[in-house]
Symmetry: C2
Subunit: 295 residues, 2 copies
Amino acid sequence: MVCTGFGQALALMAAALDQGGGRSVAMEEYGLTHHLEILDHASFDTPLMGVDDAGARTSDLSDTDAAAVLLTPAHQFPIGVPLSAARRSAALEWARARRAVVIEDDYDGEFRYDARPVGALQSLAPELVAYVGTASKSLAPAVHLAWLAVPPGLLDAVVEAKRLADGFTGVLEQLTLDELIRSGAYDRHVRRSRMRYRRRRDRLVAELAVRSPQVSVTGIAAGLHAVVRLGAGLTASEEEAVCSRAARAGLGIQGLGRFRRRPDPGAAAALVVGYGTPPEHAFAGAVDALCDSLA
Amino acid sequence: MVCTGFGQALALMAAALDQGGGRSVAMEEYGLTHHLEILDHASFDTPLMGVDDAGARTSDLSDTDAAAVLLTPAHQFPIGVPLSAARRSAALEWARARRAVVIEDDYDGEFRYDARPVGALQSLAPELVAYVGTASKSLAPAVHLAWLAVPPGLLDAVVEAKRLADGFTGVLEQLTLDELIRSGAYDRHVRRSRMRYRRRRDRLVAELAVRSPQVSVTGIAAGLHAVVRLGAGLTASEEEAVCSRAARAGLGIQGLGRFRRRPDPGAAAALVVGYGTPPEHAFAGAVDALCDSLA
């Protein structure tokens, strides 16, 4: 089903789960506050799973009675790691045993630079996984298009929720994307964008290595953001000072702590640095300003 | 606030009323099943007001504990009468006394053919009335644009509900409508459409008078549909047979009974005949087929 973005997909899934008596959706911490708010607004509990180098700690699921879990398997947001094979299996086993659903947020699946992208969880178990892809990263959020592949048991409820939420998704955008895909222009655009973002990421990593050797970039080479660990014993409570310096230089950068619901002021300090936004001519200057802010 | 259609506006209003503890929205009967379903889905009760030649019977409101009432004051849908001055006042008095809200569905306010349109209720009491206008009739439902003027006390909750439903409304459509309005093209289009629809309505009324003298067209000369009373002692239970004959002739027409939740098989038979849909070259043939179906 076509919808307007991941946010609407999540709201529709919540409405469908609610019809089946669901009251709880497990989420990754770190994650997007916006997704928490959508589930709060739908009166869902949102038990949190920790995230480490292998992605979401799926073992945390056994403590919950969640009707679903929201995962970013290809590229955990914002930590930037893929979900390990063992945890992919564990998530599916949990869903199968609990008759629960995995909501797979493939928010930037088009953009992996170092290796072939891992396949979607959904392809392994379409009866357990609701897959959500979006044109928000590949084209623009303003295009307002995403797509949702729902387990058969939830499809009618999701379609009904969509009908009662806004009837249908913008026809002009859908026809335009259809034309872009059929003509091959979408594919060419994604390839071109992948090269451009890869060069940006490479430049960011290289400049930071030279000018800010105390920091390190973590996460796989993918997507539109990097996690920059500040090092030197700094903790999360000190992230905001760096972000304020960056803001004065015109950069919109957030501390990693902003992506937690349970504050952890003692965690190692890090920044979430998006590199997709600046126009091409301004990118070098933006990296320069970031290095200055880190000095 | 801009949203995607009246349906979304109603869903957002329901979310906002729910935040304030509202559990009930009074509705007109006759009315659109779709609106009932939206409120049902949001777990609202929907007490019904009757409709007569002066519009919704606002006296029915005193029996309810509704947090809001949904009205079509300019042109009751589907009956086609405007809400009388006395009932306009009564609706506002009720809302003021009960701290309730009037949701004004101005679904085809652009199209009145016989007189100057009555002003919006909202302009009389913006603190009590949430006004919804839409481009679904003036341009097309696919444009997916409507606008919502909300009493100040509900604005934050409506904006928050929109943010959590789908973030924002299609930017491409909004920019396009903005350009249409600024250039004067929207105004010219509405004037041209008003003349075209008026001619269609006049033709429909004239043809029916000649070929089906047993029927009568009720409601004011406005909008995109007419209510055709079948006369000759026919009751609502016989509407479906006429609609089936019309369907075999390629016409999508509904019996008035379809717009009731509480069936009233003894009511006088009538059809709700939309005249906006056929392309120009097919309109005369459609009227002809309708007259055949009524024979």
